[in-house]
Amino acid sequence: MSTAGERQRFLARPSFIELDARERACAILDPGTFRELAGPFDRLKSPWLPLQGVVAQADDGVVIARGSIEGRSAVVASIEGAYQGGSIGEVSGAKLAGALELALRDCQLGRPVRPVLLLETGGVRLQEANLGLAAIAEVHAAIVALRRHVPVVAVVAGLVGCFGGMSLAAALCSRLIVTRAARLGMNGPEVIEQEAGLAELDAGDRALIWSLMGGEQRVATGFADVLVEDDAEAIAAEVRRAFASPAGPPRSEQVETLIARLAGIDGEHPPEPAALRTLWAREA
């Protein structure tokens, strides 16, 4: 931020994080092409939440939108972090998996669809436990199958982050775009603190949490591809770049590389986050 002009531009940027799930999907698609499927007027609500005294929202917290990206057929699945922590229940999970399955069908028919996942989720919705977990397994299956036809692009912008089984979904994608506000991990800090105690992890220590699983650390240690500012236009541009450039082998296929780099780590006393960056520095 060296000049006043640059500072001005930074302050004027359109925030992506502040957008709701629907606005985020709009921001990714070509202007004017957003068309929502299984939207609020279809009233596909969770059948399980009302049984437990929780009000069910008419879209179950997931927006599926068709449209185009650089003129090519696309589908964006956007999770609303503000509803039930972006948790995956039967309906929201079926929307995610179902959209990816239809994109796969079109790809298999020779009609490529560009899939984008906007992930903002704590993982399985505890009130729909086994059906949420099952839906996440179906999301995984669909990503692995679809990725053979077309890059599957994911964005974790924040503020919820991406946790639980959905963090595996993020790791299965061809390209993963994150901001500094993003957190990506299998177990949320609160869950670890509760399961393993305060000595294992203090969930209230924000600096510690972001040093472990924040977007910047994840890019520096090879767990994500691109670090972007919280700027809707910059994020949309990175999504376009992901489809324009040929995707290398997905990181979840790099098993021997992952085993080799983990072999050098002391399980009882692993390096501090900053040291791990040096050790696992990404190749430029």
């Binding site: 596909l44 086994n130 949420g132 177990n187 509760q194 992890l201 979840s252 983990l262 986050p273």
Partner: protein
């Protein structure tokens, strides 16, 4: 045998019973056991996760799927795919008894989510390559443990036994998180099927291909083994004749009721997929 071993050793017990081997390999951590054994007219590969009280990662010492376990699964499944590329894909049987994923600070720093994704990717790739992938639930199938070891299977079979528990979070953890007692959770599970832990409730959801009754999960008898083998062989035949995806979990008779919303959402998406 330590207490943890006795408590969570069901996977190993079934591996030994079905293959006659403890499945130790030089290319895998002691927690990832792999053995080949005849299954009908062919040879199948059996994989189990086994607790190791001396695991180099302290948070993965009670049968959790940790970093080494997930990557070990990924390596062994990928090796199976590579070995069979020329001679036809053999069945892979995942014997499932996993308490959960490992919860820890080290695990997050070192990216257990990617290790887990590597296991999921390998299993899904095996299925797509034509390996009949069968999960046999003999014990716990909890959360990230189940996602990484079993949930990508063409067919899921389970023993109708109280040791078999399926959920997104262990009973003790869920009780702490929701500030309920284990008894209250069980009561809730009786009213709300996806919240239950027991395998009979799970069977109502339509995700299970077969519930195998009358088998002692903790101590299988010779007759039990023959019945289980017959069920595995039948599931392999069915998997080979069916699509290589997970669609059978939506088309089973139980799924029509148990996953009615999952089916309705997909129907609506398909109707609206192409612009009017």
């Amino acid at each position: 045998m330590g207490a943890a071993h006795t408590l969570h050793g069901i996977g190993l017990r079934w591996l030994e019973a079905l293959t006659g081997s403890a499945g130790l390999l030089d290319s895998a951590p002691r927690t990832v056991r792999v053995a080949d054994a005849p299954l009908g007219a062919e040879v199948a590969r059996f994989i189990a996760i086994v607790p190791d009280p001396d695991n180099r990662f302290p948070r993965a010492r009670a049968g959790e799927v940790g970093l080494d376990e997930a990557l070990g699964l990924a390596r062994q499944v990928r090796r199976t795919i590579a070995e069979d590329a020329q001679r036809g894909p053999r069945p892979i049987i995942a014997l499932v008894d996993v308490t959960s994923q490992a919860y820890g600070r080290r695990e997050e720093l070192l990216g257990i989510h990617l290790a887990g994704a590597a296991a999921v990717d390998a299993y899904a790739s095996a299925r797509l390559a034509g390996h009949p992938l069968i999960a046999l639930l003999v014990g716990k199938a909890i959360s990230g443990g189940f996602l990484t070891h079993g949930y990508q299977a063409n067919r899921i079979l389970a023993l109708d036994s109280p040791e078999v528990l399926i959920h997104a979070m262990s009973q003790q953890s869920a009780a702490r998180v929701t500030r309920r007692t284990v008894e209250e959770l069980e009561q809730l599970g009786a009213q709300v099927a996806p919240m239950a832990y027991d395998v009979r409730s799970y069977a109502k959801l339509g995700l299970l291909h077969r519930l195998i009754g009358g088998v002692n999960a903790a101590a299988p008898a010779p007759g039990d083994l023959e019945r289980v083998r017959a069920e595995l062989i039948a599931a392999v035949v069915e998997a080979r004749a069916a699509p290589r995806d997970l669609s059978s979990r939506l088309t089973s008779a139980a799924a029509l009721a148990g996953r009615a919303a999952s089916i309705a959402v997909r129907r609506r998406l398909a109707e609206q997929w192409d612009a009017p």
